[in-house]
Amino acid sequence: MAKETGAREGLKGWLNPGKIGKFGIERLAWLLMRLTGLGLLAYFIGHIYETSHILDGKAVWDKSLEMTQTTEGHLFLALVIGMCVFHTGNGIRLMVAQMGYGLGKAERPDYPYKPQSINMKGKACIYATLGMAALAMWYGMAVMFA
């Protein structure tokens, strides 16, 4: 009877960048969706805490705002903007796919057995989402550093 040890890849199966080369941009989108989701949740918790300083008066509010008004603060916020745009865009792509759109038509497979669901439409959406995230980051930095 085979032993169960080492049966699953574990976190290596999630975080190994070599997987993206082997399995394509969809795998990168899957990984980024997780990472941006966790990042946004962490940011959200910090944001709720930070905005609660409004209850402590103007002096405390202004002091807490100083942290975000630094170069590092602006860069961090730009990253948050990028994460938000990517997570949203990719989330919409996934919801549309789960409704059955853009997957291709089920039909008798033939050599070379290329999967219909992994198509240019999906890849284009992922690249477009990455592009929009970069654009949003650039716009955010333009506003913040103005």
Binding site: M1, A2, K3, E4, T5, G6, A7, R8, E9, G10, L11, K12, G13, W14, G18, K19, K22, F23, G24, E26, R27, A29, W30, L31, M33, L94, A97, Q98, M99, G100, L103, G104, A106, E107, R108, P109, D110, Y113, K114, P115, Q116, S117, I118, G122
Partner: protein
Amino acid sequence: MATLHPKLSEELSQTTVSSTQSIKLKIKRSNPNVNSDEKYDEFVVPIEKWTTVLDALLDVKSHLDHSVGIRYSCRQASCGSCGMKINGKPGLACFTKISELNSDTITIEPMDNYPVVRDLAVNFDRMINNHKKVMPYVIREDSEIDAESGVREFLQSPENVEKYIQFSSCIKCGLCNSACPTMAMDKSFVGPQALAQAYRYIADTRDQGKNKRLKIIDESHGIWRCHFAGSCSQVCPKGVDPAMGIQLLRGYLLGIRD
């Protein structure tokens, strides 16, 4: 640590090799029933333009090291026995030509996410159990064909067949489960193979077990732990496209499909 394995005998290859090409095979060796040691053995084998990974492995077994443990059968991508990780990507050894890998060294390892039996052979119990869980057969109350019931055959139009025939091509090779990122961590996940087969039967107009199967997969380690990474479809050797089946299956649970 990799070791170059010396030729065990001076016997000639049974086939006359005209090619001067050869490649290095790096095969992962392990025997979990004995100990947890793992190592890579290297073998140099001659190849032709048409040599598959399985051909090269059988060459190693025949002439260099008889003890290499591999599972194979049909040699024509019909049985699904020879699934393994080839240069980091799951694939059927009989269906992967060495010339298409564009590499002088071919690293061959057992499939991920399965317990290893020995060397390149893995245990399929979990996949088979998950497959059985989704009831992979036509469920129908009036399945008894007799003179009284008047039922002679269950008719299907060609259009109805096209809806599920793709997913019936599954040869249970397990490559999809090996590639799936959720399977890498979640030992309770049903897996893309079982989910695609669930869709195959639900989409079959002869089947009446849709609600039973949907109830089985609508749980915390069922269909909802798929996030459309698409790796399963990337590696499927028969064009089953499990990712498509799973997304279409979700439509039933989201109330978009009847």
